[in-house]
């Protein structure tokens, strides 16, 4: 969508709504900021065909030119205000950079309110694999791109939405049965390119003369997706006994980009752009239908009902919902060939939650929720049953519940003793094909049962000091996956303290801690016995933030955070593949290859301040540094290999300074400089993404309030 057309459309919409209102006694309010940003990227990523670390989130157009720049109305706020201070209509727009802007248009009249919004954002992917296979570093030259070596991979999302809410009471027709009626709709278009990576398997797909080193391939694929949704909500308060909300929503998702198949040389097939002839002689007509990363078109239908009875001091609400996600539109070529009908998944939810005061100082809080997911896949169809190896999850049922007893011994203070339960039942189907994994070799459990007991506290003894937190223990008597925890301790706490004198300051600190383990999932070898998928995790983080005002004109601040994640697990190897056993000729056994210990550590420091030099001039300076380290230790071959190639050492540094000058009552000038640096200290030079970027910004803000008499 042309961005200038979009901007004009947004303004035209505002003028269309606002102009008739000017006759009413409304006062204009708002501000307009015009800004220009000049960029100076450094390093090997200053080319347009390569995304740098910062381009992932902040796309920079024309960065290959001598002085890339961005100029726009970076902020726009246009409103018409009534005498009581409320907005009749308001348009806001933010545009912090290229391909990153959003706008909101709000209108409010008796009985009707309107909200329209528009968003646009582009994100890029770092490109890791571009060298031809077998050339360059043994580690980095892994994937070919069979279509282009110079493509950037990105997705640009452009969306617009509209919601209109009608309240009959505003038209002097109050109705308990129709308190509010809301219509909403939304459209989003996604465009861009992605790198689809794949590996050719088997001699047939490799073709005659194909080498193993040519198996790892990729191609550039377009993204062309449309998402359209419409919905409605009806809110009622019949006889003021309860409040109910009925919601209905329909969403359509369509991928317009053509499907790429393995093919036999026809357009749109892998074999059509086979650069080295590895697919020459490819003959299998069924395998030629295989679609690469096929994305199904879907329709999603959602309906829900929520109810909150008006029970005085008792708080209660409950509801039910159903969501059906159904394949629609296109079908995968293999799916057509095998006659597999459209797929669908349906989920159901029912819940109730309430809080019941027992005395002035005691309350009981409880909840229960049932959730079910059913996959209606025709698992008897040969497309599925000929290849299915692991368990098929036909149905999933989950119950979550909890009960809390909360005591409030004094105002602002409460203590909670609570219990949470989670129960999952998975209906797994095995043995759909001759290549199926036997139940004793699967890593999925049928049931998960986890009980958690905890103690919580919120202390607002005085308004200067707030303490809150929770500590508990999880006991998983059954787990479904190796990373689910059987036993875990956790705690989290937060403290906030305001010191009014001698130096006004606010100190906040918080922390979280989790230590857990599990070893219930067991792989039963045929002659070597069982091996457990042991997993241990310890995660903790904390932060401290201080803001102080030593002088009325000076604000200083600092924060420090650390996040740490430690995981240890038994890395298991088997002599043959899991679905190859048990047969008399093949004895499947599992062994512990190694015990990798993964550690990630992220530290972040922010320091800065602002100083009011004079009534019209303010200066600010701030810096932040985030350092990330990842190591994998532990004995055994795999752990050492993992550490060799997967270490992370990087540092993100930003420094920003600015001057803000109020030239007149209406006009403010801002001048800023920002330096961003990403330093990548990896062992493998080919993966080094170090880059630096300088940004100079100038903006002028016009205050519309001051223009009004």
């Amino acid at each position: 969508m042309n961005t200038y057309v979009t901007r004009a459309a947004i303004l035209a919409g505002y003028v269309l709504i606002a102009t008739p209102l000017l006759a009413d006694d409304l006062t204009p309010r708002g501000d307009v900021t015009v800004g220009i940003q000049l960029y100076r990227p450094e390093g090997p990523f200053e080319r347009d065909d390569t995304a740098s670390f910062f381009d992932k989130y902040r796309y920079l157009k024309n960065k290959g030119t001598d002085l890339p720049f961005f100029v726009d109305l970076t902020h726009l706020d246009l409103g018409l205000v009534r005498d009581d201070g409320t907005y009749a209509v308001r348009l806001q727009r933010w545009s912090p950079g290229w391909s990153n802007d959003r706008a909101e248009l709000e209108g409010g009249w008796p009985g009707v309110s309107l909200l329209a919004d528009y968003r646009r954002y582009r994100s890029d992917e770092l490109r890791l694999f571009s060298s031809p296979t077998g050339v360059g570093s043994a580690f980095a030259s892994v994937f070919n791109d069979d279509t282009s070596a110079d493509d950037r991979f990105f997705v640009r999302r452009t969306s617009a939405g509209l919601a209109v809410r009608v309240r009959p009471a505003g038209f002097d027709h109050p109705s308990d049965l129709l308190k509010e009626l809301e219509f909403s709709s939304r459209y989003e278009h996604r465009s861009g390119q992605r790198q689809d990576r794949y590996v050719l398997s088997g001699s047939q797909e490799r073709g005659a003369g194909g080498l193993n080193t040519s198996r790892f391939r990729a191609f550039t694929r377009d993204i062309d997706q449309d998402v359209t949704s419409i919905g409605t909500r009806i809110v009622s308060t019949p006889w003021d006994l309860l409040t109910s909300a009925i919601e209905l929503e329909f969403e359509s998702f369509r991928e317009r980009a053509p499907t790429t198949t393995l093919g036999a040389g026809e357009p749109g097939s892998i074999s059509a752009f086979d650069p080295v002839g590895i697919l020459a002689g490819f003959q299998d007509p069924l395998k030629s239908l295989r679609a690469f990363n096929y994305v199904p078109d879907t329709d999603r239908l959602y309906a829900s009902l929520r109810v909150r009875p008006h029970l005085g001091p008792v708080q209660f609400h409950g509801g039910a919902s159903v969501t059906r996600l159904k394949q629609a539109g296109s079908r995968a070529p293999e799916q057509i060939a095998f006659g597999l009908d459209d797929n669908s998944v349906t989920t159901y939810s029912i819940y109730g939650a309430g809080e019941f005061p027992l005395t002035d100082q005691l309350a009981l809080n409880g909840y229960a929720k049932f959730w079910k997911r059913r996959n209606a896949l025709d698992s008897g169809n040969i497309l599925f049953s000929k290849d299915q190896t692991d368990a098929f999850l036909e149905q999933l049922r989950e119950v979550k519940n909890g009960l809390e007893l909360r005591a409030t011994p004094m105002a602002g203070t409460d203590l909670t003793l609570g219990y949470r339960g989670r129960f999952v039942r998975r209906d797994l189907e095995f043995q759909k094909s001759t290549r199926s994994v036997a139940p004793e070799f699967t890593i999925i459990g049928e049931d998960t049962t986890i009980h958690t007991g905890y103690l919580g506290w919120n202390l607002r003894l005085v308004r200067s000091l707030q303490l809150s937190g929770e500590a508990g223990y999880e006991n998983g008597t059954e787990i479904g996956y190796p990373r689910e925890l059987e036993r875990a301790y956790y705690a989290k706490a937060r403290v906030s303290y305001v010191l009014p004198r001698p130096v006004p300051m606010t100190l906040t600190a918080s922390g979280r801690f989790l230590d857990g383990e599990s070893d219930e999932i067991e792989l039963l070898g045929e002659s070597a016995g069982a091996r457990r998928k042991q997993f241990e995790v310890r995660r903790w983080n904390y932060d401290v933030t201080l803001t102080a005002v030593p002088k009325e004109s000076l604000v200083v601040f600092g924060s420090f955070t650390q996040h740490r994640n430690e995981e240890r697990f038994a890395h298991l190897r088997s002599n043959i593949r899991r679905f190859e056993g048990p047969v008399p000729a093949s004895i499947l056994n599992f062994f512990i290859d190694s015990v990798p210990q993964y550690e990630s550590d992220v530290l972040s420091v922010t320091l800065g301040g602002s100083y009011q030099i004079s009534k019209t001039l303010e200066a600010s300076l701030a810096t932040t540094v985030t350092r990330t380290r990842v190591d994998i230790a532990g004995g055994g071959g795999a752990a050492r290999a993992l550490d060799e190639v997967n270490q992370i050492r990087n540092q993100i540094t930003s420094i920003e300074c600015g001057l803000s000058y109020r030239a007149t009552r209406q006009v403010r000038l801002d001048l800023g400089y920002r330096f961003d640096r990403f330093h990548d200290d990896v062992r493998l030079e080919a993966l080094d993404f170090s880059t630096r970027e300088h940004t100079l910004s100038v903006s002028v803000t016009m205050d519309l309030d001051a223009l009004t008499p």
Binding site: Y351, R463, V595, G608
Partner: protein, 329 residues
């Protein structure tokens, strides 16, 4: 941690008790230090927040309030729709006479909801919501004395330069999330493309949200949701089995880097990723015993290469596939 003995068990004793003790000591010490700091300095306690009516007080009118309260939370003139102080704070005669903060009431959540009935459906779960149970008042987030949203404190602007104002308010308390938004991989909240409320509803009871967490992710990531012919069960159950939506140390918001996160569940067959058959470690035979009893031989580049090739480079349809049971494409 640190079990051994039974055949097949792993001895995991690196995370030693002494290290655990150090961490516990650090946590407890920090907490005690904070408490000591709090009680050892001279403060001006403001007292608990009173929400009950003050008996025998009489209305005095907003101009009388303004005589002392020239500014209210930095606002020289509260928005006209909230300009009648006593509508929310109750009669102020006793407070005006004495200046005692215990003789004026502060509005509770019910006071706000008595007038703000529009959008009532958004507040249906408020009574049992996380924020309500944490003791928050409406005015902890909404400023009733201003028609404008609160401003972002300046120190966040350098690290989260383009964050929207609502999200800036959230991260004032949710500091752990704020710091994750600075991680090398994160949802673009700091860049202003998304806000906290894009995924979260501050008024809801998250424990009983409809559907599952995946349905929330599906509102933007439909192309990962299927329905598929070949599924990856943990993906079906919870995206957050592998992803941390606020921020992660590695690409694609993975909580733990590849292939570690994959290997922590999956076993690998020798004939495909290790020794025999196709690519493997030259000179290493098929595994026949546990580490450390039967340690592996020297690492070969083939295995290292397999580990550098992230699992999803070959198993690229990790979220689900219509073609391949091994989720390769």
């Amino acid at each position: 941690m640190g079990r051994s003995g039974e055949k097949g068990d792993v001895t995991m004793n690196s995370l030693t008790a002494s290290k655990r003790t150090r961490i516990a000591t650090l946590c407890v010490g920090s907490f005690v230090a904070a408490l000591v700091a709090c009680v050892s300095v001279v403060w001006t306690p403001l007292g608990p927040r009173r929400t009950a009516d003050v008996a025998n007080a009489e209305p005095i009118g907003a101009p009388v309030c303004a005589a002392c309260h020239e500014q209210v939370h930095g606002q020289e003139s509260p928005a006209p729709f909230h300009a009648d102080c006593e509508s929310c704070h109750g009669p102020g005669s006793l407070h005006a006479a004495s200046g005692d903060t215990q003789l004026i009431r502060f509005p509770g959540n019910d006071d706000c909801l008595a007038c703000h009935t529009e959008g009532v459906a958004e507040h249906m779960e408020w009574g049992t919501s996380e924020h309500a149970r944490a003791g928050l008042y409406c005015s902890d987030c909404h400023n009733p004395h201003s028609g404008e949203e609160s401003e972002l404190r300046p120190f966040e602007q350098v690290a989260l330069p383009r964050i929207d104002l609502e999200s800036a308010l959230c991260v004032e308390c949710h500091r752990d999330v704020a710091s994750r938004l600075k991680f090398p991989s994160h949802h673009p909240v700091a860049e202003g493309a998304l806000g906290c409320t894009s995924c979260h509803n501050a008024h809801e009871d998250r424990r009983v949200s409809f559907g599952d967490r995946n349905e929330r992710c599906a509102t933007c990531h439909q192309d990962y949701m299927g329905p598929w012919v070949f599924e990856h069960p943990p993906v079906v159950e919870d995206c957050m089995t592998c992803h941390n939506p606020h921020g992660a140390v590695t690409e694609n918001l993975l909580e733990t880097i590849q292939p570690v996160i994959c290997l922590s569940c999956h076993s690998l067959p020798d004939s495909r990723h290790h020794t025999t058959g196709s690519s493997g470690i030259p000179g290493q035979s098929t595994i026949s015993g546990d580490y450390p009893t039967a340690p592996g031989t020297t690492i070969g580049t083939q295995e290292a290469r397999a580990f550098l090739r992230r699992c999803t480079d070959c198993h690229s349809a990790v979220h689900g596939s219509y073609t391949d049971e091994h989720l390769r494409h």
